[in-house]
């Protein structure tokens, strides 16, 4: 008994002596990896780590699964960061997001506490691990792609992971030159990173409500599809929710985010993860392009990490709240409507009988 008490005390102390993670600086991958383990240790009741793939250089691709364990398969909100190596604010946002939702969950009676009973958050802090690590080396800060080698006569490295998904692959806004930043790969899903996401979500897609993929820069919320020949069946709804999210984001620090399909507000493209998710049937799929507008571009100052994350969080939460409300309160509404219907029918019958 005494030993157990001592053990628990030492565990608490151990947790306290582990260095506090600074969410206002950029972290190399090893630190993000350690942080993930720390999140797991600090929140064993609702966090697990799932390895769902490997990069070209054989590193693990991990996600944090966050939600109350009910034993049943729950609805899922997916977020991935760091698909493009140089967009450092993106993994920083995933770290911030996880910290925030855990903090809110611990508040008794909070909306997040209720949501975590009904939904799981699957968050990948760094998807393109090899590329991210490469962008921390001397002289390669602006690397974008993964680190698979060129094939055939092409000696350049890297496939653009966001042109490699199996949705109108290779058709528009993509290069066939393996030295290009938008090289789409030798075939759809030729990259192990894109293949991992696809394989993992294919099996679960019926339960995925939301797919959010985080990029920078440009201050945009992009809705499917990147190929101008495709229109999402719920385009109107996606725009409505996206515009509302952008309005929420502007309230935080006054930053404007434009909303639209990529072919409208940025450029057409094919093979993106956002497009694949929508085509796979995930109803809400968005790309966030975070700060800034080109002043610092990919090298957003660390002083801006917090405000950028705060506004992005408010936008993401608006969408998450909407999706959650639509899915779970709708069930309540249906039940209520049925009850009202029965009551009405009864009244009419009574009325009819009375006359």
């Amino acid at each position: 008994m005494m030993l157990a008490l001592v053990g628990m005390l030492l565990l608490q102390m151990g947790a306290a002596t582990r260095a506090i993670h600074d969410y206002n600086v950029y972290h190399p991958y090893t630190e993000i990896d350690s942080w993930m383990t720390g999140i797991l240790i600090d929140n064993p009741d609702i966090v697990s780590i799932e390895r769902y793939g490997q990069t070209y250089e054989k590193r693990d691709i991990n996600l944090l699964r966050i939600g109350e364990r009910t034993g049943a398969m729950k609805k899922v909100a997916w977020m991935d960061c760091g698909i493009h190596a140089r967009e450092w604010i993106s993994p920083a946002f995933c770290q911030y997001f996880i910290k925030q939702i855990l903090q809110e969950y611990r508040v008794h009676g909070s909306r997040m506490a209720a949501m975590m009973k009904e939904m799981d958050f699957y968050v990948t802090p760094v998807l393109n691990v090899d590329g991210y690590i490469y962008s921390w080396l001397n002289g390669t800060r602006l690397w974008r792609k993964n680190r698979s080698p060129g094939t055939g006569s092409c000696s350049c490295y890297g496939t653009d992971l966001n042109r490699n998904f199996n949705v109108t692959w290779g058709t528009i806004g993509v290069s066939t030159n393996c030295c290009s930043e938008t090289y789409g790969g030798t075939a759809a899903l030729s990259s192990p990173e894109a293949a991992s996401v696809t394989r993992y979500l294919e099996q679960r897609k019926a339960d995925v409500l939301l797919f959010l993929t985080i990029h920078s820069y440009g201050q945009l919320i992009l809705v499917p599809y990147g190929n101008p020949n495709l229109t999402a069946p719920n385009y109107g709804q996606l725009m409505k929710v996206g515009l509302a999210a952008a309005a929420e984001m502007k309230k935080v620090h006054g930053m404007s985010y434009r909303v639209g399909t990529s072919p409208d507000i940025l450029y057409p493209n094919s093979g993106s993860s956002r497009d694949w998710a929508r085509l796979a049937g995930i109803p809400y799929s968005f790309t966030f392009e975070l700060r800034d507008n080109g002043t610092f571009g990919f090298e957003l100052p660390e002083e801006q990490i917090q405000p950028a994350c705060e506004e992005a969080y408010s936008g993401a939460m608006h969408i998450i709240n909407h999706v959650h409300r639509e899915q779970f309160n709708a069930a309540v509404s249906v039940a209520t409507a049925s009850l009202l219907g029965v009551l009405l029918a009864t009244c009419v019958t009574v009325a009819n009988n009375a006359f």
């Binding site: 157990a4 797991l40 806004g173 066939t176 075939a187 899903l189 639209g260």
Partner: protein
């Protein structure tokens, strides 16, 4: 050893390290869930290849934006929009960005560096062989002081195979605030010397930092880059300066401070990072001029040593 076991052991080691206590009393939290091995997602047995024909000569670095565009697989967008344009859509935004490059070449300095904030109105018309003309109303912002101004502008993208840089005219009459003059004079006087010529690199650095003393030279790099970005712009590009790789001051000549700049430009549509060298000269009276602009090849074979 299976990865799952490795993970558990790692957690165990971590716990031991921070607690130094026997583990017998502690229940480990659940760790890695290895997904059940699944059927791989079927991919087409014939890999979908797009025959581009431009795949030969891959070792030639991508030198020009023109070559970039040839190698981009794209639907033939013959129908360019004319008439009233949606100001939030990319055609208006790209044309508006060109306006900003132009304004920076005219009015930019170490203490004034304009950026596009909003497009209010935009129309486009075809000029036959002469190209296409955009008429715009935009709000721009000085990235240093934050001051905003609205102006109208016209951008003509020349037609024909020769192409050529866009031509811009605006209603902008100059910076409304004049207090940059004192700062500019002070900076000019400070560096108008043959001693301790300035040099710097990586502005901003990987973490987005620029030392306070170097900020004017980061701004100057951005303004000087505008000369390149302006001449390189088309309806298919959107340029920003990504980073000043290096800046080296040369001796003053004809009362102009002079700096060799090595810059990286980010072209949004192709997502390419394009390396340019240029010579920037500046004085408060003459403003900024750029010359000896030279495109450097993309370095494919300068792989840094493997980290371990």
């Amino acid at each position: 050893m299976s990865p799952a076991l490795m993970r558990v052991l790692r957690v165990v080691v971590l716990l031991s390290a921070v607690r130094g206590a026997p583990l017998a009393t502690v229940t480990l939290p659940p760790v890695i869930l290895e997904p059940v091995p699944l059927e791989p997602v079927p991919v087409p047995s014939e890999p979908v290849r797009v025959d581009s024909g431009a795949d030969q000569n891959i070792s030639i670095p991508i030198n020009t934006e023109q070559q970039q565009q040839q190698q981009q697989v794209s639907l033939d967008v013959d129908v360019m929009l004319t008439g009233e344009l949606n100001p939030n859509h990319y055609p208006a935004r790209r044309a508006a960005q060109v306006v900003l490059h132009h304004l920076n070449t005219r009015y930019g300095s170490p203490y004034w560096w304009g950026a596009l904030r909003q497009v209010h109105k935009a129309t486009a018309e075809a000029l036959g062989d002469s190209g296409r003309k955009y008429s715009l109303e935009v709000t721009l912002q000085d990235q240093i002081s934050g001051t905003k101004e609205t102006c109208t502008a016209e951008v003509v993208f020349p037609g024909g195979p020769a192409g050529g840089p866009p031509q811009v005219t605006t209603s902008y009459e100059g910076k409304s605030e004049i207090n940059t003059q004192a700062q500019e004079e002070a900076l000019y006087n400070q560096y108008n010397t043959s001693q301790n010529l300035l040099s710097g690199h990586n502005l901003p650095d990987s973490y987005g930092h620029v030392a306070p003393g170097m900020e004017p030279f980061w701004h100057l790099g951005g303004v000087a880059s505008s000369f390149v970005m302006l001449k390189e712009s088309s309806e298919n590009t959107l340029y920003n300066m990504a980073q000043v790789v290096s800046v080296t001051q040369l001796a003053t000549e004809n009362n102009q401070l002079r700096f060799n700049y090595d810059v990286l430009l980010h072209e949004m549509v192709s997502q390419e990072i394009i390396h340019w060298k240029l010579l920037a000269s500046w004085s408060p009276q003459e403003g900024v001029k750029a010359s000896q602009m030279e495109l450097l090849p993309k370095c494919h074979h300068c792989e840094p040593p493997q980290e371990h």
